[in-house]
C-alpha cells in the first residue's frame, strides 16, 4: 500500500513529527514523503533512515506553504495512494485541509493510532481526550492528522531515499507571502524533549512572575512551559504552550504552577511520568491527575522550593 507523509522543515532540520510519522507509516506500506522547506541531504537522509523510500521536495521560498504544498501534493501522490499522514502543526493543518478539499475527501483529526486491515481504521481522541473513537474510512485516500507523540520515532536502517524536487505551483489568487520570520530566543533544554518541565498558568498573576518558573527550571535542568491563557496574555511566546493546540510533553516530572487543569491543557501533559501541581484552589481539576498536589499559594511555595534546591548545591 502506498502511504504518504507530509512534513515541514523546522529550524533547518527535519521535524520530529516527520520522523514519528515515517516510523509509523513504514509498518503500513511503502512510504513517500512530501517535504516542505529548504531541504538538505541530512534531512532527506534522516527520513530514509526512518523508512522513507522516496521524498518529494518543495521549497516554498517566501510563499506561505498551505496552498502550493496542497497543489503539489495532489499532483505527486498519484492514483494509488490510500493513506496520507499529517502532524498537527499549523502548516500541516493548512495543507491537510486544502488537500482534502481539493481531493474531495474528509480529514480524520486528532488521531492516536492508524491501522490497515483491508480498509483504513483510525482511532482518534474526542471530547478533550476523554474518549477514543475508532472510525473506518471509505475515502481514497484517507487523510489523517495525528496527535504529536502518538508514535515513537525509531530508525529502520534504511538508506538514502530517492529525492525529486518539484517546482512551486502557481496558485494564483490563493497565494500569501511570508515577508519576515521571527524566532523567539530560548535557553535551556527543548520543551518537547526535556525530562523536567516547569509550567506556569494564569495563577502566576503577572508576566514578570515567570522569572520564578525560569529559576526553578534552571535549578532542575528543565524546560519552561505554559498554558494557552498565559500565551494569549502575551506573558510567554506560543513556543511555550503545552496542550491541545500547543506542544505535547511527556517528561519524567511535570510541575504545574497556578494551572487549573482544563482538559485542553491536560491532553498535552498527562503522559508525564510524575505530575506535581501547586494551586490554591483545592477543587482545581489539575489535582485529579496529579501524583502530588500542594494546595497553597505558589508565591510562597515556589520561592521556598527554589531556596531549598539552592541550599542542596
Amino acid at each position: 500500500m502506498a502511504v504518504w507523509v507530509f512534513t515541514e522543515e523546522v529550524d533547518g532540520s527535519v521535524s520530529q513529527s516527520g520522523l514519528e510519522l515515517v516510523t509509523k507509516a513504514r509498518d503500513l506500506g511503502d512510504v513517500s514523503v512530501m517535504y516542505v522547506g529548504e531541504g538538505s541531504d541530512e534531512a532527506f537522509g534522516a527520513l530514509g533512515a526512518h523508512g522513507a523510500g522516496s521524498v518529494t521536495h518543495l521549497d516554498p521560498g517566501s510563499t506561505l506553504p498551505g496552498a502550493p504544498a496542497a497543489a503539489a501534493m495532489a499532483d505527486a501522490i498519484g492514483d494509488s495512494c490510500s493513506l496520507i499522514l499529517f502532524g498537527a502543526s499549523n502548516t500541516d493543518r493548512d495543507v491537510a485541509g486544502r488537500l482534502a478539499a481539493r481531493l474531495g475527501v474528509p480529514v480524520i483529526a486528532n488521531a492516536l493510532d492508524v491501522a490497515v486491515n483491508g480498509g483504513v481504521s483510525v482511532t482518534s481522541e474526542i471530547l478533550g481526550g476523554t474518549k477514543a473513537v475508532t472510525t473506518t474510512s471509505e475515502a481514497s485516500p484517507t487523510i489523517v492528522i495525528t496527535r504529536p507523540k502518538a508514535f515513537v520515532a525509531a530508525p529502520s536502517g534504511g538508506g538514502a531515499p530517492v529525492v525529486t524536487a518539484v517546482d512551486l505551483p502557481d496558485v494564483g489568487a490563493c497565494a500569501a507571502t511570508v515577508t519576515a520570520s521571527h524566532a523567539e530566543e530560548s535557553e535551556g533544554p527543548d520543551l518537547e524533549a526535556a525530562s523536567i518541565v516547569v509550567s506556569g498558568g494564569r495563577g502566576l498573576g503577572a508576566a514578570d512572575k515567570f522569572a520564578l518558573m525560569d529559576e526553578l527550571a534552571s535549578l532542575l535542568g528543565g524546560a519552561v512551559g505554559g498554558t494557552r491563557a498565559v500565551v494569549d496574555a502575551g506573558w510567554v511566546p506560543y513556543s511555550y504552550q503545552v496542550g491541545q493546540t500547543g506542544k505535547t510533553v511527556k517528561p519524567d516530572v511535570y510541575i504545574a504552577c497556578g494551572i487549573s487543569g482544563a482538559m485542553q491543557h491536560v491532553v498535552g501533559m498527562k503522559g508525564s511520568s510524575t505530575i506535581i501541581a501547586i494551586n490554591k484552589d483545592p477543587d482545581a481539576p489539575i489535582f485529579g491527575i496529579a501524583d502530588l498536589g500542594i494546595v497553597g499559594d505558589l508565591h510562597s511555595v515556589v520561592p521556598q522550593l527554589i531556596d531549598a534546591l539552592k541550599a542542596r548545591d
Binding site: A101, D291, I294
Partner: protein, 252 residues
C-alpha cells in the same frame, strides 16, 4: 470591508457532553451557546468593519434551537446572520461543513471570511482551510495580530519557533487565535438590538450541497483517566513534600 465570520453554536462546555449511544454524536440541546473562541473572530471582524465602514455577517451551520448562540454574536454587534439548519446535516464532518458554509458565503459579496483556529467541541482544526480551497482564497492562518495594508491584510502567524509576518490581498480567509484581540462584551443596547436583526435560514438543498459522509464510527471507548495521588494542604512545609518526591523519582 464586508466580512463573513464563521461561528458555531455548541452545547455549553460547562456541562458534560453526552454521546447518543446509537449515532455516537454529541447530544445537542435546544439552547446552544456561542463557542467562546468565536468571539475573537467576531471582534476582529467588527474592528475591521468599523474602520472601513463595512458590515459583519455571522454564518453558522447548526440546528437553530433557541438561537441563543447566534443572538450572542448579534449582540456583540454583527449586522446579520445566515444560518444553515438542516436535519440531513446531522453528523457532518469538516468537509461537508466547509462545502455548506462555502456555498452560503458564495451567495454574498464578502471581502474577508473569518474563522477560529479550532472549535471547542469538535476541534478538527481544518474546516477553515478547506473553505479557503473551495472558495479559492488565500488563507491567512493562526493570526495573533492583524492589520490592514493597501491591498489587503498583514498578520503575525504562529510558527513552532516564533511567528512569521504574512501578507495577502483581499478577498481572503483569516483564522484567528484567542490572543488576537480582546473581545467586547455585549451592551444592554446590543442585546436589545440583536432581537430584531435579520437571520436568514437556509437548508442544504437551498445551497445544492452533497451532504454524504464517507466515514463510519465503529466504536467509542473511554480513555483511562490518570488516578489522583496525594493532595496536601500547604502549612509552610509543602515544598518539602515536593523535594521528597523529586528525590524518590531520582531527578535530584
Amino acid at each position: 470591508m464586508n466580512i463573513a465570520v464563521c461561528v458555531k453554536q455548541i452545547p455549553d462546555p460547562a456541562t458534560p457532553y453526552k454521546l447518543d449511544p446509537e449515532t455516537h454524536l454529541v447530544v445537542r440541546p435546544d439552547d446552544q451557546v456561542l463557542d467562546d473562541t468565536d468571539r475573537y473572530g467576531i471582534e476582529i471582524g467588527l474592528q475591521l468593519a468599523e474602520a472601513t465602514d463595512g458590515s459583519v455577517t455571522v454564518v453558522s451551520m447548526s440546528p437553530s434551537g433557541t438561537l441563543q448562540g447566534i443572538r450572542q454574536a448579534l449582540a456583540m454587534g454583527a449586522d446579520a446572520a445566515v444560518l444553515i439548519d438542516d436535519p440531513t446535516l446531522k453528523g457532518s464532518d469538516a468537509l461537508v461543513t466547509a462545502r455548506v458554509l462555502s456555498a452560503a458565503i458564495s451567495r454574498g459579496d464578502y471581502d474577508l471570511v473569518v474563522a477560529g483556529t479550532e472549535s471547542t467541541d469538535g476541534y478538527s482544526g481544518v474546516m477553515p482551510q478547506m473553505m479557503s480551497e473551495l472558495l479559492a482564497l488565500p488563507c491567512l492562518s493562526f493570526a495573533t495580530h492583524v492589520e490592514t495594508t493597501d491591498a489587503g491584510l498583514r498578520i503575525k502567524r504562529q510558527t513552532p519557533s516564533g511567528y512569521d509576518e504574512v501578507e495577502a490581498a483581499l478577498p481572503a480567509l483569516l483564522t484567528v487565535t484567542a490572543g488576537v484581540v480582546e473581545p467586547r462584551y455585549p451592551t444592554f443596547k446590543g442585546i436589545m438590538q440583536a432581537k430584531s436583526k435579520p437571520i436568514e435560514t437556509l437548508t442544504a438543498a437551498d445551497l445544492g450541497v452533497d451532504t454524504a459522509v464517507t466515514q463510519c464510527v465503529q466504536s467509542v471507548e473511554p480513555i483511562a483517566a490518570r488516578a489522583a495521588g496525594e493532595i496536601v494542604e500547604d502549612d509552610g512545609e509543602g515544598y518539602r513534600r515536593i523535594i521528597e518526591l523529586l528525590e524518590t523519582v531520582k531527578v535530584i
